[in-house]
Symmetry: none
């Protein structure tokens, strides 16, 4: 549905054949993939790469797959899909109760696996909400998620270009951005030399967001170089 693509998937699987198979299938659907062939390594990879989804085989050479799940669940809430040759009900129940989110028996269809992955990722994305990307300096507040800008407690309306310029500055807050960098970023590469646009829109932003536009507190000019957004 949404473009949850390019999610990072950790595959813990010892059979080379299945790895190759999934590498192709997942790659074709835009997922990024990390592979492990052992449970131990899988746990390390999970901790270091922080994948969005883990697919784990139950029949690993070193650890039992269920132990991998338990160890993972000690700290991670990442969705886990079990892949297994064992179709025994007992195994399924154990794995699911250990913390797995789904269980797919081999041989499986790629389509089904992908669909179940989408379900798992759907859960993950709806679960983690408390991420409120909002930037603040002084009494200037930028709420990226809601696309809202405030000075003090008054909301200020920005046009698309104004907003894009502002967010670019926010992204590199504290650092100087050259005219060319800003123009390429906001208007696109062909406009890299239209320094005039920048002055007009910078003035616009100051007029809307600075208490005293003539004496900017936030939108600072670096003469001959570019602009900088003050940070704390």
């Amino acid at each position: 549905m949404t473009d949850n693509e390019e999610a990072l998937v950790l595959l813990i699987e010892d059979e080379a054949q299945i790895r190759r198979f999934l590498r192709a299938a997942l790659g074709a659907h835009g997922y990024r993939l990390v592979e492990s062939t052992t449970g131990e390594d899988g746990l390390v990879q999970a901790a270091t790469r922080l994948p969005d989804l883990v697919i784990v085989d139950l029949g690993l050479p070193d650890l039992d797959g269920v132990d991998v799940i338990r160890k993972l669940r000690e700290w991670a809430s990442v969705p886990i899909i079990v892949l297994s040759a064992r179709g025994q009900e007992r195994d399924k129940i154990t794995a699911l109760d250990a913390g797995a989110d789904d269980y797919v028996s081999k041989p499986f269809g790629v389509g089904e696996l992908l669909a179940r992955m989408r379900v798992a990722l759907r859960h993950a994305s709806s679960a983690k909400e408390p991420d409120q990307p909002t930037f603040t300096v002084g009494d200037l507040k930028v709420d990226l998620a809601h696309r809202k800008v405030f000075t003090g407690d008054k909301e200020v309306h920005l046009t698309p270009i104004e907003f894009k310029l502002l967010t670019t500055l926010v992204r590199y807050a504290g650092k100087v951005l050259t005219h060319r960098q800003l123009l390429k970023e906001v208007w696109g590469p062909p406009y890299a030399d239209q320094a005039h646009y920048l002055r007009v829109y910078m003035a616009q932003l100051r007029r809307k967001l600075e208490a005293d536009p003539a004496r900017p507190r936030y939108f600072l000019t670096e003469p001959g170089v570019g602009y900088r957004l003050a940070s704390e």
Copy 2:
């Protein structure tokens, strides 16, 4: 295993035999059960009883099970487990993408089903559940479950597209949705560039729901970007 028990389960299943079977199995594990034998009734039960989990058979006499899922997903985030005699991969993918959380093929083991139910309930409880099936801003009220819309206390009739557009906005209330997002969500991906439709239907919604359509309080335009439904 865990005491996720006394959860309320809605079973939508026409085969009496399976109903009897599950009634016993779930009862023995402490679940409370509501039964429906048709899709229509199932939807009504879901709206009135607000179950913690829905188990739905794909082969219902009236509606297609997948349609039941879609209708349910228009307003509810309750976990849905599909039970089906059809083991075709195509069916699984369709059901999962329609919003189901799991798919169990008949014949199935009770143990496995119970384990998958525990997984589903685990998800539901971890995901914060401020899931009131009714949304309110000012004197605009949207009852997702009953598919009804009110301004003040007068009910307003909406066409299917109008309603879907409204619910999409409701789902992301406060956030700006781009034209493309709305079009893909409401009309489907192929319509992502028909920004036209949006204006027509937005005007429609405002005419029906705003006190002064020319001065919208709820349906706000972000010129060059998209639309936003005011929140609080």
